[in-house]
């Protein structure tokens, strides 16, 4: 009997594949070396479905080399546990898949159909299954619903999607060459000069992304506001007081403003012209990943990485289609009607889905962006049955509402404008309102349009000026990036991929190059960027990074080879890294002072000890390893003031103060969770604990 081994990307996906492809009974869960496999019988014979755990293989230096050594140009694909610490589970997984592969005659890659999924499947089949990549077939699907999985199994691609896998390999190799060499150059230079270890990193995408933030920070820090004056007037229209705006948005001199106030105050204006114009607002396009991340940030405050994680969970629960897509199009093959009929069974969507179904032809508003592998994100029609959490519920609703809205008709709004003349000055009264809701009704509460209705007006009508105001204002610095706007900037600059951008942003936080939700660059970020600009400016060059990105995309379409792109990368990087190595002392000196300042400021609070006025620091009990806020006055005045701190996650001292007690706030960031901001002093009060905690006798700063 034939045995087929199917490799899925994640354990949940493996179970769905097994459930969909089995003919009669439920899949049997079998364990090989403690790793779960799902066994089924179908027309193809015996089928074993296993899963990866993300990437089981990665790029590592050829041979055994110390982790500090650079430059490194020779690399190999190696099992993850051989190149990264804490990957013991991966070792077990590889060994189990290897054992299962010896029983198999046929192999199928059923990982997600994109660069990363193709690469995960390819490396497992090639390295763990004894070169099975040569004969393996490929399942292509965009949802984990039984119907689509069965269709994909019945229409297997005869071979693996090698161009996609090779593009993925190339991306990993190029990123590794950049990351290892540049990061080690920075880290080793700093270590040499300061004798203290700090992980410093940069990368092919990370460098230019950090440059965006540093450039913005530079603009903000060197910003000189310019004054301007804004004129406004209130008119009495048949007893109703309405506010009008002046013909010029702002006036550059105070004299102009004062003159206008003098000439308008106490006068009567005349309504010279009334205009009313309808305009249409097209329905939104279906979600691609970045627009989903952007809306999730706007409405729920989810960072791009959190939004992606929640969306992937919904995908694994069969509720939505594959979220890592660049497409804004929904092809008819997804079965519009089936999805809408399924949504009709949910109370919250019943009316809207029925309304769309009864409207006649189903035609969603398609966006411009396309993705050959997947359609835009859409609900599969499966209804959540209590298995999702609040984040999942919110994102699912957003996806459903966006899907419904895409089928809606254009909305019509009307803008009203009244032109009022007061002597030689002109004012405008503006209103706007929705006259036909169209798609807006399906996208509530996410579509927000304010209605401002003007009172009844007639041309030639006289209106009394009740008051004229002149407000002094100042030009504003550009806004800081937030994770969502930075992601958009990266996308527009065409650097990184939909799968990697969110992670790059998280790395910037982890390395302490940026802080706060409104991303501000730290002094370390400034220094790293200045060093890279001085010694290897091309590493920060967006155009160069974009070019490399395009080369890698060309591997997907077969126009470029992986070997060529890797070779070009090495040719470019070699002189840069060798030059950096020669200037290690110089670079180290430039880095060491900032690292020492950062380290000190990261543990020293700006608020003094409320008891003795000495500095407060974040310290760690050497015995219990627990961190807390302690007073350095301990050594001079025997002050025992201390406050507890959260024990898990990366701790940052914020510049913000507690609104209740003015103590300095702290923030804790843990992977996969939203940052938690708290006041150590209020926490003690709320917990009804004494203001001081027992401090271990011996402690260190």
């Amino acid at each position: 009997m034939t045995t087929t081994l199917i490799v899925a990307e994640k354990p949940d996906a493996a179970l769905h594949v097994a459930e969909a492809l089995g003919t009669a009974q439920e899949p049997t869960r079998v364990s090989i070396r403690g790793v779960p496999f799902f066994e089924i019988q179908n027309d193809a014979g015996r089928v074993l479905v296993c899963s990866a755990l993300g990437h089981l293989y990665g790029v590592g230096a050829k041979g055994e080399k110390p982790r500090s050594q650079y430059p490194v140009w020779d690399f190999d694909w190696k099992p993850k546990h051989e190149i990264e610490r804490g990957q013991g589970r991966q070792e077990k997984w590889i060994s189990a898949i290897s054992q299962a592969s010896r029983q198999a005659d046929q192999f199928i890659n059923a990982c997600d159909f994109d660069v990363e999924g193709s690469l995960i499947g390819y490396t497992i089949l090639r390295f763990a299954c004894g070169g099975a990549d040569r004969t393996a077939q490929r399942m292509k699907f965009s949802t984990l619903t039984p119907k689509e999985l069965r269709q994909a199994f019945a229409n297997l691609l005869p071979q693996l999607d090698f161009p996609l896998a090779f593009a993925g390999m190339c991306r990993h190799e190029v990123d590794w060459l950049y990351g290892i060499n540049l990061s080690r150059a920075l880290t080793q230079s700093a270590l040499k000069a300061s004798r203290r270890y700090s992980t410093l990193s940069t990368g092919r995408v990370q460098g230019p992304t950090l440059q965006f933030i540093v450039e913005r920070e530079r603009e903000i820090q060197t910003f000189v506001p310019l004054p301007c004056w804004v004129l406004g007037a209130k008119f009495d229209v048949d007893g109703e007081i309405v506010e009008a705006e002046y013909e010029f948005e702002k006036l550059d001199t105070k004299v102009q403003g004062e003159e206008a106030v003098r000439e308008c105050a106490g006068r009567t204006g005349i309504i010279e012209k009334l205009e009313s114009k309808p305009y249409q607002i097209s329905p939104p396009t279906p979600f691609d990943l970045s627009s989903l991340q952007s809306e999730a940030y706007r409405h729920f405050g989810y960072s791009p990485r959190v939004a992606l994680a929640v969306a992937e969970r919904l995908y694994l629960d069969q509720l939505i289609s594959y979220p890592r897509t660049s497409s804004q199009k929904l092809p008819p093959s997804i079965g519009y009607e089936d999805v809408l009929r399924a949504l009709k069974s949910v109370e919250a969507y019943r009316y809207d889905a029925a309304s769309i179904l009864s409207s006649g032809t189903l035609r969603p508003n398609q966006g411009k962006k396309d993705d050959p592998a997947h359609p835009a994100v859409y609900p599969t029609g499966k209804i959540p049955e209590g298995q999702i959490d609040q984040h999942g519920e919110r994102l699912f609703d957003l996806v459903v509402r966006r899907f419904l809205a895409a089928f809606g008709s254009a909305a019509t709004r009307k803008s009203d404008k009244a032109t009022i003349k007061v002597g030689r000055h002109t004012f405008f009264l503006r209103g706007s309102r929705t006259v036909k809701k169209g798609w807006i009704q399906f996208y509530m509460p996410y579509a927000k349009f304010e209605d401002i209705t003007l009172p009844p007006l007639k041309e030639g009508q006289q209106v009394k000026v009740v008051s004229v105001s002149l407000e002094e204002k100042f030009s504003q610095p550009p806004p800081r990036y937030n994770p969502s706007s930075l992601l958009k900037e990266m996308e527009e600059a065409e650097i990184g991929t939909k799968a990697t951008r969110a992670e790059v942003i998280e790395t910037l936080y982890r390395r302490e190059y940026v802080k706060d939700q409104r991303m501000s660059a730290t002094p370390l970020a400034f220094r790293i960027t200045e060093i890279l600009t001085k010694y290897c400016p091309k590493v920060l060059d967006v155009a160069f990074t974009r070019e490399l990105e395009r080369d890698m995309e060309e591997i997907e379409s077969g126009k470029q080879t992986r070997e060529h792109v890797v070779h070009e990368t090495i040719e470019y990087l070699k002189p840069v890294i060798e030059d950096l190595k020669k200037k290690e002392d110089e670079v180290g000196r430039e880095l060491s002072s900032i690292i020492s300042d950062m380290r000190d400021s990261s543990v020293t609070l700006v608020v003094p000890c409320p008891r003795c006025g000495s500095s407060l620091k974040v310290v760690k009990n050497p015995k219990t390893k627990k961190r807390f806020i302690g007073c350095v006055g301990k050594w001079k005045t025997n002050c025992t003031f201390a406050l507890p701190l959260p024990q898990y996650g990366r701790l940052t001292l914020l510049e913000k103060r507690c609104p209740e007690c003015s103590f300095q706030l702290v923030q804790v960031r843990s992977k996969g969770r939203r940052p938690l901001v708290s006041c150590p002093k209020c926490y003690v009060k709320k917990a009804e604990k004494p203001a001081e905690i027992a401090v271990a006798k011996s402690r260190s700063t």
Partner: protein
């Protein structure tokens, strides 16, 4: 070893006592003065600095430069 900026630890720029950041702030500060003077009709440099120091929109590097000029007494 390069000399430091008068206001921070960064290396100073050639023909300036400041690093690139503070030099850019100084340049912006000087360039905007004529626009401020025009906007208010007349304005001394001391008044200009006073106003900028109180505004939240003013960049921190610009405020550093203003404080430095004050300490040096270079207000004209």
């Amino acid at each position: 070893m390069p000399e430091h900026c008068s206001l921070c630890e960064r290396p100073k720029q050639t023909e300036s006592e400041f690093c690139s950041l503070h030099k850019a702030a100084q340049k912006g500060l000087e360039a905007a003065y004529s626009e401020w003077a025009k906007a208010y009709g007349s304005l001394t440099k001391a008044e200009y600095f006073d106003r900028l120091e109180t505004l939240g929109e003013t960049g921190v590097a610009v405020k550093d430069v203003i404080r430095h000029f004050r300490e040096k007494g270079a207000m004209q």
